[in-house]
């Protein structure tokens, strides 16, 4: 895939599908929708952040800005900024 951000979005969606045990809910969440407002519980959000560390091979900075964690797209943007797309551990 030529678009790293799009690839990251797909991989983040796959992680969410794992967390929710299916894609019924996740498929209805737009890339740019607030995950909180879409109904993603805080436990699922933290599970996602932990899973992203494993999948993309980076650690979240303690000072990460809240807006980075707001949407699938903003998370993907952070992954691209870290250069983590395509690293080992991805699916």
């Amino acid at each position: 895939m030529s678009d790293p951000r799009a690839e990251a979005r797909l991989r983040i969606r796959a992680l969410l599908v794992d967390i929710f045990g299916g894609d019924r809910f996740v498929s209805g969440v737009p890339d740019t929708a607030s995950l909180r407002e879409a109904g993603v519980p805080s436990t699922a959000l933290v599970s996602l952040l932990v899973a992203m560390e494993d999948a993309f091979g980076f650690e979240w900075d303690d000072e990460v800005r809240p807006e980075v964690l707001r949407t699938i797209d903003s998370l993907a943007g952070h992954v691209v900024e870290t250069g983590a797309v395509g690293t080992a551990g991805g699916r």
């Binding site: 809910f25 607030s34 909180r36 407002e37 879409a38 109904g39 519980p41 805080s42 436990t43 699922a44 933290v46 599970s47 952040l49 932990v50 979240w60 990460v64 809240p66 807006e67 964690l69």
Partner: protein, 188 residues
């Protein structure tokens, strides 16, 4: 229907707590509706003439003036807490597992060492719920700036669990029962 945990003991001022089951298929829409039902019941029990809770542009519930409250839900159970006269209220109910990795993510080293067993008496799920409840109480009372709930610090002193963030301190009460951790934070 999931069993309703008892409210935490000793909460002051005394909150009004109402529960409502989340109907099938237990999705976000059903959870939100159950939360609104619970909020309407809590406001009614608290003596509020206004019983609707609209959302602000950020999706946060707007309780009537003089009746601050908070809503939380799992996939099967919703709860609303109203504390007439308080400055702000936060409530959180958690039934999901909080793994060791998740606990390490949301709890600082000192919190893990002093609040989790063997030195402490709280479970990771309880402390997760405590931070969420505190975040709601702080975020609903004009704490400046957006922040992440796990940056709230937790400490225990004199038998009281307290949340703090940038000089704002909020007492917390926690109770676990029937697979749920239920936390309430009240700013007076």
């Amino acid at each position: 229907m999931a069993a309703e945990p008892r409210p935490p003991a000793g909460v002051a001022p005394e909150p009004v707590i109402e529960w409502h089951p989340v109907p099938w298929p237990h999705g976000p829409a059903q959870q939100s509706a159950a939360g609104r039902h619970a909020a309407a019941a809590a406001l009614s029990s608290a003596g509020s003439a206004e019983r609707t809770v609209p959302r602000d542009p950020h999706g946060r519930p707007c309780f009537p003036r003089g009746f601050p409250g908070s809503i939380s839900h799992t996939a099967h159970l919703a709860v609303a807490v109203v504390v007439p006269g308080a400055e702000a209220v936060g409530a959180d109910i958690e039934s999901a597992a909080v793994t060791a990795r998740m606990a390490a993510f949301v709890l600082g080293e000192r919190e893990r060492r002093t609040l989790l067993p063997p030195a402490g008496e709280y479970s990771p799920r309880e402390l997760f719920a405590a931070k969420e409840a505190a975040y709601k109480a702080m975020n609903g009372a004009g704490t400046p700036g957006e922040f992440l709930f796990w940056r709230i610090g937790l400490s225990r002193s004199g038998g009281t669990l307290t949340a703090s963030y940038r000089g704002v301190r909020v007492p917390l009460w926690i109770h676990s029962e029937a697979g749920h951790a239920f936390a309430v934070a009240i700013r007076r």
